[in-house]
């Protein structure tokens, strides 16, 4: 290797420092105390690597590069300033952008090298482009569903999985043909086009409750495609960043599917909506006990220990700030209030935590499922706001239930359960929730934001 000081080695050196900063960045993310330092490290690493790249002698024309960098920054700022409730769709959109970059660069690299592409190179290039293209279209679809510009209900039809898997198989077969015969340049568009279609079809049968797993999986694909791009460009920095991102997405996907007691393939190929038609039938007749905001406030005000369980319904109703007021009102009376967070509550990993943190609820009051489940037997009131399946005791004891085996928040072990819900319609998955018919369960029918607001008002009124 040539170690003469010059632009090339300066560039390489900035990459080395950037790599170290990226690894530190993830290390510092482990705790909320050091996490912001992690962001700084990432930013500095990124800036250094970009500056180092701009010094490279390979660049002959700066005009378009600079225009593109400026344009990207201008687009990036509003994407960084979206509302916290829009974070899931923003995240999906950023997976799409990352994958777009990788796919375009991969495509250009192919045409620059074709027809003499070495086999290993062609293999990683195919991987890069296939993963990139399906992540791009799949993430756009996911973002569209989350933003509700596309229908959120899973769309399923007979033979769906066969169609999807055959498509993917064709793309892989064409990629293999290209590895063996890279001179068949005309085949290349096929391994871009088919994965683009596959990405769309892959998300069509995905419903809202599966989004946390799917977003994580797309995150992992985006990382892996970037790592593949690193192999093509022989950039260790990119390989490492891609591997870190791929590992992160993979771990999150595993966590999410464990939290739903489902395998990846079950999430991707077994759309939730189609399996269970049985449960919904016997729901109507069974009696439930309901209560008014005044009664709910009286019960909460008399409690010593309250655990609030938020779900996607809280996010939809934008009720997090009202929940904060409730937290304040109860805490002021000396009541111990904590939050029980299920890993798949919401539409992406950690979704509830971000919304509650936005509402200024201290993060040490936000407890993971494993921790808070030990607390329920000593809890006076478990207040469920907009969560359904993650509190369904059927998951524990009804072997026939589609969610049997899924770890749940044991709210039914609290002395009293209150559930804020719009009506008795079963949740997303169409599964009846036996929790609602327990003697100690009170149903609070109404909009989450409005009802919590009413409880807060009642608590304030009876204060003195």
């Amino acid at each position: 290797m040539n170690i003469v000081p010059g632009a090339a080695s300066v560039t390489e050196f900035t990459y080395l420092i950037a790599t170290a900063l990226f690894i530190l960045s993830l290390k510092w993310m482990s705790s909320p105390v050091t996490a912001r330092r992690g962001v700084r490290a990432g930013e500095i690493g990124m800036a250094l690597a970009i500056a180092g790249t701009l010094l490279s002698h390979d660049i002959v024309d700066y005009k378009w590069v600079v225009i593109a960098l400026v344009l990207g920054s201008i687009i990036g700022v509003p994407l960084g300033l979206v509302q916290m409730t829009a974070v899931p769709q923003r995240t999906a959109l950023s997976h799409a952008f990352g994958a777009l970059c990788v796919t375009l660069v991969g495509t250009a690299e192919f045409y620059l090298r074709a027809p003499a592409v070495p086999r290993f190179m062609m293999a990683v290039l195919s991987l890069e482009v296939i993963l990139g293209a399906l992540t791009f279209s799949g993430s756009l679809m996911a973002a569209g569903k989350l933003q509700e510009v596309l229908p959120q209900r899973p769309i399923t039809y007979k033979g769906q999985n066969v169609v999807n898997l055959s498509l993917l198989a064709v793309a892989v077969a064409v990629a293999v043909a290209l590895v063996v015969h890279p001179e068949m340049v005309k085949l290349f568009p096929v391994i871009v086009a088919i994965p683009l279609i596959f990405g769309v079809l892959m998300i069509v049968p995905i419903g809202g409750a599966d989004m946390p797993t799917v977003i994580s999986l797309l995150n992992s694909y985006a990382g892996l495609s970037a790592a593949a791009m690193g192999f093509v460009l022989d950039s260790k920095l990119l390989i490492i960043a891609g591997a870190l991102d791929g590992a992160s997405g993979f771990i999150l996907s595993v966590n999410m599917s464990k939290a739903m007691n489902r395998s990846f393939s079950n999430v991707l190929f077994g759309a939730f909506g189609q399996e269970q038609v049985s449960g919904a039938a016997q729901t109507e007749a069974r009696p439930v006990r309901s209560a008014t905001a005044e009664e709910a406030a009286a019960i909460l005000g008399a409690a010593n220990k309250v655990v609030i369980v938020p779900g996607y319904g809280m996010a939809v109703a934008q009720a997090q700030h009202k929940v904060r007021e409730l937290y304040d009102a109860l805490t002021k009376r000396g009541i111990d209030v904590k939050f029980g967070i299920h890993p798949v509550a919401g539409r992406m990993p950690g979704h509830m935590n971000v919304l509650l943190a936005e509402a200024d609820i201290p993060y040490d009051k936000l407890l993971d499922m494993d921790v808070v489940n030990g607390d329920f037997p000593q809890t006076d009131v478990a207040l469920v706001i907009g969560a359904n399946d993650v509190t369904n005791p059927a998951a524990r004891n009804e072997t026939g239930s589609p969610i049997y085996g899924m770890p749940i928040l044991d709210v039914d072990k609290a002395r009293m359960v209150m559930v804020i819900k719009r009506g008795m319609s079963p949740g997303f998955a169409g599964i009846d929730n036996p929790l609602y018919y327990l003697d100690r369960t009170l149903m609070l029918f109404g909009d989450a934001k409005g009802f919590v607001g009413d409880i807060v008002r009642e608590l304030g009124g009876t204060h003195h």
């Binding site: 690894i23 250009a108 999150l252 201290p362």
Partner: protein
């Protein structure tokens, strides 16, 4: 035969994968949303490949692809770091409020 530098790259990939697993396993679920937006921003380092592609100016086609790729990756980097920091700023421990 796999060339030597490709083999080195495979080692790098494997080691980075292990580091990633070890570090990310330790990250509290509390921060999983900002984690995803951070890794997404870091992933935008693909912009260096796009910059070289656009800057080398080998053909109008590849330059155009490179330019779009730069725009996509840069918006991810800028937006990703920005929103991650905004989220993390909101996470506060209790204690300061008690009076």
């Amino acid at each position: 035969m796999i060339k030597l530098d490709l083999l080195t790259s495979l080692y790098v990939f494997m080691l980075a994968g292990f580091i990633g697993f070890e570090f990310i396993r330790r990250i509290t679920p509390l921060l999983h949303t900002p984690l995803m937006s951070l890794t997404n921003a870091l992933d935008a380092i693909a912009v260096v490949g796009a910059i070289l592609l656009a800057g080398e100016h080998k053909s109008a086609f590849t330059t155009a692809l490179g330019v779009i790729a730069i725009v996509a990756a840069t918006s991810n980097a800028v937006g990703g770091f920005l929103i991650t920091d905004r989220m993390l700023r909101m996470f506060k421990a209790s204690g300061t409020k008690k009076s």
